[in-house]
């Protein structure tokens, strides 16, 4: 599905952000990309859709070599890759609906996007996605009138409006409170499951990532230092990625979080029934 070969990125300032990163993501797999801040997680994600131009290496999306594409072909590749951002990155002054529809920009000609005359099926899909993320009644509000959690839901809908084959998720919960974070994370995972959508999720917190992904890739100073199932992510590996910490205490905190999460889910179910 996605194959990354020998990807390196050296910034113009001389900082080496990524060194010889290679891995493959099969269809339907959710990968957690962990590492301390500054490890190159964001750079790696952005190299996949070339928001950041890699210095060396190749990115293959199915049979397509993304790194070798011309500008217009790159646009067509980008629309196949949905992206969800850390600070939502919505266009604050546009309505929620316009933000969701902007996921179709790679498909429609300029005049349609300029006049906001999107094809009927695009609009219907947008409404369906807004219903899925629970924001139907907010469609005509401006994005900056929403709360953080709601904004990130719009961000998710925008990415899905692209009909992506791959989802890139960059620290989706970094600016949210713990409870909203869990809700957003759960929503992303549910959607990936529903659509059998492969995803790469950047997440700072390695222990949290362990609990919901099928595979973990650990990045340290731009080098892959771990790649395997979450169960193999023991204290020794965590220490190699993050440095010395009290992992037992952190695990306890995470499991308390999970319990609360389960309780919330039960309450929600009870409310539904």
């Amino acid at each position: 599905m996605l194959r990354i070969e020998g990807l390196s990125k050296t910034y113009r300032t001389g900082d080496k952000a990524l060194t010889d990163v290679s891995f493959e993501v099969p269809a339907g797999q959710v990968v957690g990309l962990i590492g301390p801040s500054g490890a190159g997680k964001s750079t790696l994600i952005r190299c996949i859709n070339r928001l950041v131009e890699p210095s060396a290496g190749a990115v293959h999306l199915r049979d397509l070599n993304v790194t070798g594409l011309s500008r217009s072909a790159l646009r067509q590749a980008r629309r196949r890759i949905g992206m969800i951002f850390q600070e939502y990155a919505l266009v604050e002054r546009l309505t929620v609906m316009e933000n969701v529809l902007s996921g179709r920009l790679g498909y429609v000609p300029f005049w349609r996007s300029f006049l906001r005359r999107y094809p009927g099926e695009d609009v219907a899909k947008a409404f369906q996605l807004l219903e899925r993320v629970g924001l139907t009644e907010h469609a005509d509000k401006r994005a900056d009138a929403l709360s953080g959690g709601q904004r990130q839901r719009v961000g998710i809908a925008r990415a899905l409006e692209q009909d992506p084959e791959l989802l890139l998720v960059d620290e989706p919960t970094a600016s949210l409170d713990p409870k909203t974070s869990r809700q957003i994370m759960r929503l992303i995972l549910e959607i990936c499951q529903e659509r059998n959508l492969p995803a790469i999720i950047n997440i700072h917190d390695g222990i949290r990532a362990q609990s919901f992904t099928q595979r973990i890739i650990g990045l340290q100073a731009g080098v892959v230092v771990f790649d395997g199932p979450p169960a193999e992510l023991d204290d020794k590996v965590l220490t190699r990625i993050y440095g010395e910490e009290d992992w037992t205490a952190m695990r306890r905190g995470a499991s308390e979080d999970d319990e609360e999460d389960a309780r919330e889910r039960e309450e929600r179910l009870a409310g539904l029934v």
Binding site: A89, S113, R158
Partner: protein, 271 residues
């Protein structure tokens, strides 16, 4: 350090000796420069005229009142022209300023070493030259009339609008641009969806603000023949009809106050 030791006691002074000296030297230099400039400037001044000024002022003042109220009948049409010069000139300036601003902004310019310096030069040239000078030139080139006034106001507005607009473009949030780019949007779509919404309020504010300034400036363009109420002013000044001049001043003042009020209202509504 301002705290030093004097006779074994710590002594405090506002500034160190060196800083104090530099400060005094600076002030002295400024005074010397002022005196020198004053001497050069007043070299050819005829002081008799200056001494005579209060009398002249009293004389002109007495002729200025009462204003020639009836003269208003002949001011309506020039006033309409003035309004048109300001409005159409602002529109022309804005239309040209928008592409210039996008060429000049670091994050949207297509070429940093060619297009950007050209755009910046257009901005500087337009801004350095007052609209009255533009009008002077244009009257000489395309002849007197409202058209010269419109073009003069337009040329002057380009630099003003483009400068403020390109600063607004450089201040946008890049993450929004990144997000729209990531959907596979084309360059034009990125501008339309990610950049325009972010700069629209600033743009509207700048335009109205410039319109307000242009109303003010277009009232005097007639002094050099570029149409509007200034033409009437020039005519009255030529025949020393001071009571008419007063009337024109009153109209200009009223126009400026009204336009300032309108612009403040509109800007308030936008932001």
């Amino acid at each position: 350090m301002p705290v030093s030791t004097l006779n074994g006691q710590p002594a405090w002074a506002h500034r160190t000796g060196k800083a104090r000296l530099a400060l005094w030297a600076g002030w002295l230099g400024l005074v010397a420069l002022f005196v020198f400039c004053w001497e050069v400037m007043t070299e050819n001044t005829i002081w008799d005229f200056v001494r005579d000024a209060p009398q002249q002022a009293a004389d002109i003042g007495s002729r200025m009142v009462p204003p020639a109220w009836s003269y208003m009948d002949r001011l309506w049409w020039p006033l309409w022209d003035t309004l048109n010069i300001a409005t159409l000139g602002t529109l022309m300036g804005i239309i040209i300023a928008i592409p210039v601003a996008f060429l000049a902004a670091q994050n949207t310019t297509p070429s940093y070493y060619i297009a950007r310096p050209i755009a910046l030069f257009i901005i500087v040239a337009s801004r350095s030259i007052n609209s009255l000078i533009w009008a002077l030139l244009l009257v000489s080139i395309i002849g007197p009339g409202v058209m010269a006034g419109i073009v003069a106001i337009g040329l002057r507005s380009i630099g003003f609008v483009a400068k403020l607009l390109y600063e607004a473009i450089e201040e946008i949030e890049e993450t929004q641009v990144e997000a729209v780019t990531a959907t596979g949007a084309s360059g034009a779509q990125v501008i339309n969806y990610a950049i325009v919404p972010q700069i629209l309020p600033a743009f509207a504010g700048i335009s109205v603000f410039r319109w307000d300034i242009n109303i003010r400036e277009s009232t005097i363009l007639g002094l050099v023949g570029a149409g509007g109420i200034g033409l009437q002013l020039q005519a009255s000044l030529n025949v020393l009809a001071w009571s008419q001049v007063t009337m024109i001043f009153i109209v200009i003042l009223a126009t400026v106050v009204v336009s300032e009020w309108v612009s403040a209202k509109v800007r308030h509504a936008i932001i």
